[in-house]
Symmetry: C2
Subunit: 252 residues, 2 copies
DNA sequence: CGTTCAATTGAGAGCGATCAAGTTTAGTGG
DNA sequence: CCACTAAACTTGATCGCTCTCAATTGAACG
């Protein structure tokens, strides 16, 4: 699959962005909103499986996810792959190539995705003209790092079942915060291979551990829908510590 | 060990900072240097073992490491600990508390350290008055995330011996870049317990794997000095991919 | 010369990997 | 709507890497 090239599409004004209504994002003032609106160079839709950004490449674009799931990953030469994190609506992807002029990981669409496109060559304007937004970018970078920190603890120090429980809680909370999940139910586009590559486990062992977790009753997982049946016990079992759900985050 | 509180000490002007001469950092112009000089509220020395920043706390300070090693880590309630990354001279620590008003990990001194102290409450001035420096902060945040990405791949997908080889190459390259290591030789303040907690392994297995690696001849490790005897073979064996050694990074 | 911390070694168990079939589900084209 | 195909999921069996428990050795220090 070749790396996707953005083409312009119909365009939703940032002031009418459907994401802004879910209560998870901080309000932008008029000048900020006008800047983002003008900074945004278009929209872009890609299909599940498309490679959005590729390791070692230098992308001229940054993206904010309006809809759909992606994942960041990197691989060893012999094919062993590690998924680093998932990219969900409201997340910014491609910041690395804006900083280093080179991607150190790939980003692939897990579902069909709708993206807002920004030009890297105009990225620095944001720093000169809108210090609040510049601060927001740093905030987002720090948030991403915090999530990877948590995943590293997960992979390094939790058992297989704990890892699975943890990642389910993590994804659920992120999606619930933006109104894409509720009542403990979560549409899960992941295959078990994705899970395995996220958790540093083999496919076979992931399958067995997941089924053991299901049999224990704490969660269900059928037809790509995952249900958290007993959140308290799952939190306890996995030693999960979610982020403060009240903090507002920036959306650019 | 209580969390360290900064006290002022004798003070090296930023323009005469010994770190700036090693050729790894980008040059600041006069106004930037003047700002950093004035932003810096003091210096601070701590002993090995001191906790500099503690998980869940909100620190009023940020630090740049002038000398010594620290490490970032977080732990599960039952004591299992994961070291997330090492903090070396030139690195900024405490950005998380500046962003989130709360640390999600701890930072501990591995050796005696000398730190430059900055006040978080003045941090935003950097964004309003010096967009280049603001960009630099984001750059540093992205760099830190990239390192954690690499560590996650390491812990998730490499074998024990590969993990050890990888982390040695990683630390060596970072230190060589700032003139703190050369000729394949590296002063290593880590205990095997630190190594184990970095690599997601048990202490016993770390010991056996390290000794196997030493026996293979690729490295030596005696009296806290680690020597890379055959870099090419070690790079090959670990599938190591270092960062571009020519890129200059910011120093704030 | 105890004390303490780090490194080492042995033994046994088990978690998770690998190899190898199957089975179920989903997608495609006739 | 059914046959065909590919992808995803399961299951069994076996291997071995890594963990845990338990001692012991070595080095540093007052």
């Amino acid at each position: 699959m070749p790396v996707a090239q953005p083409r312009n599409r119909r365009r939703i004004p940032c002031s009418a962005c459907p994401l802004r209504d879910c209560g998870a994002f901080r309000e932008l003032d008029d000048t900020e909103l006008a800047f983002v609106e003008e900074f945004k160079s278009g929209e872009f839709q890609i299909e599940a499986g498309t490679v959005l950004l590729e390791e070692d490449n230098d992308s001229p674009h940054l993206y904010t996810i309006m809809d759909g799931w992606g994942f960041r990953h990197k691989a060893l030469e012999d094919g062993r792959r590690q998924i680093l994190n998932y990219a969900l609506p409201g997340d910014l992807v491609g910041l690395q190539s804006a900083m280093f002029h080179k991607m150190e990981h790939s980003v692939e669409a897990l579902t069909d995705m709708t993206l807002c496109v920004f030009e890297r060559k105009r990225f620095f304007e944001l720093y000169t003209d809108h210090s609040e937004l510049a601060f927001d970018i740093t905030w987002l970078a720090a948030r991403e790092e915090r999530m990877v920190d948590d995943h590293l603890l997960n992979v390094g120090r939790r058992s297989a079942q704990e890892r699975i429980g943890y990642i389910i809680l993590h994804l659920y909370d992120r999606l619930e915060r933006i109104g894409k999940a509720r009542k403990g139910e979560l549409a899960m586009p992941l295959t078990q291979q994705h899970l395995a590559d996220t958790l540093g486990l083999s496919l076979v062992h992931t399958n067995r551990s997941l089924n053991a977790l299901i049999k224990s009753g704490l969660i269900s997982w059928e037809n790509n829908v995952c249900v958290i049946n007993d959140r308290d016990k799952l939190v306890d079992m996995t030693h999960y510590e979610g982020a403060d759900p009240r903090t507002l985050r920036p959306l650019i």
